[in-house]
């Protein structure tokens, strides 16, 4: 097993979020949930980060910022879109300057719907992301071994595998989040 799943360092970027999801992300780091138990550190530095948490939708102003942060992160890395805004634009979708969810600019590995996403759902998504991180790590180790001619298909395969994994992982997270949302409604 690689150590990457034991110490996922995260970087959190606030797109055009309403701050609801940001507070939930930070709640994960607080004593109540204390994700540092699993080695998660909020780095604030893309060069040290393994997991990119994005809240809020993408607009004309921040699309380059998101792209740049993503590019500065060393491989292997995963992206988690937190909140329905980050998934597809959410309630801001129709706004004149909103491009949509995070996946309009960078590939996303896990989605956490919900408005705001619950800390439990966020933690679930990061854990799901760790599985993908592990696969990416394995793919990274394989890549240099392959001859240059077959490199591309190999990379594609890896990507496909990632996508498949992402899809497979998404489902439980979404369910969990929906359940959480429903619970929230009931409580309200």
């Amino acid at each position: 097993m690689s150590y990457i799943t034991k110490s996922p360092w995260v970087i959190h970027y606030d797109g055009s979020s309403c701050n609801g999801c940001d507070i939930e992300v930070l709640a994960c780091l607080m004593p109540m949930y204390d994700v540092e138990r699993f080695g998660v550190i909020n780095t604030g530095n893309p060069k040290h980060a393994d997991v990119f948490l994005v809240t809020g939708s993408i607009n004309e102003q921040n699309k380059n910022v998101v792209k740049q942060i993503y590019e500065q992160m060393p491989e292997p890395k995963v992206v988690v879109a937190i909140g329905i805004c980050a998934c597809n634009g959410g309630i801001f979708k129709e706004c004149y300057n909103i491009l949509g969810g995070v996946d309009t600019v960078i590939p996303v590995d896990a989605y956490v719907p919900g408005c705001a996403a619950r800390p439990e759902a966020i933690i679930d998504a990061v854990v799901a992301g760790l599985g993908i991180l592990e696969q990416k790590r394995a793919a990274m180790l394989e890549a240099p071994k392959a001859a240059p001619a077959v490199e591309e298909p190999a990379a594609e395969e890896a990507e496909e595998a990632e996508e498949a994994a992402a899809e497979a992982e998404e489902a439980p997270v979404e369910e969990a989040a929906e359940e959480a949302a429903e619970e929230g409604k009931e409580e309200a």
Partner: protein, 287 residues
Amino acid sequence: MVKVIICVIAYLVLAPFVGGILAGLDRKISARMQGRVGPPILQPFYDVLKLTEKENITVNRVQDFYVMCFFIFVLVTGGLFFAGENLLLVMFTLTLASVFLIIAAFSSNSPYSEVGAERELLQMLAYEPMVLITCVGFYMFTGSFQVGQIMLSTQMPLPYLIGLFIGFVFILTIKFRKSPFDLSMSHHAHQELVAGLKTEFSGKTLALVEAAHWYENVFLLGMVFLFFVNGQWWGYVIGAVVCLGTYFLEILIDNSFARMKWQVAINSAWIVALVLGTVNLFMLLFI
């Protein structure tokens, strides 16, 4: 000679384990002080091993070279110390190591790491006088700068060097990069300088920096230990206990203070060096 070689090899092999576990304890105790559960004790090892698994991104080639020099010279520092060499040489080697780290940070041309490097220079300015005065104190007490000779002393230096001890523990806060004075970079997340000095280091380079800090911390605790040697076993026991106590004190300070400005760091460190250090040296002259 054989003993010296054993000491040096023991340091080179064991120091990362001791340093890593101390770092793990640090994080665990800090978490408990903040009402959290905290990461496993072995977390720092996981972190460093993970960093070695990451893709290598370097801003330029010289940066890796300088970081490597930093790592090697930290090892040389500790090696010389545990070989019983000259205390002044040891301290100057440590300064050289820090200079390499600063150059590495400057070489990246990133504003964050540059400001971090500038602050690191200021920190060096703050702690160097006290470090040198401590060395001189040991010389005045034992008549030798050789660590090997100081280890042979039959009298515990602490009662005679108490001022120097307090002063040295004071600057340890700077050297351990603990809170009121963690200006150049912090072990904790999120600060105004991103990650300060180490902003541009990633992957294996960052792993080297972390490992070097473990070596450095063990060496610094060795300096604390030196205040307690009296040639008897109970002196060694007291020394080891006080080392752990000092480390705990630093964690406590770390968690109970907010960061201060660099002016405070320099002023307070120099005042401590001037008052406690020189007064103690004069006392030694007249005893």
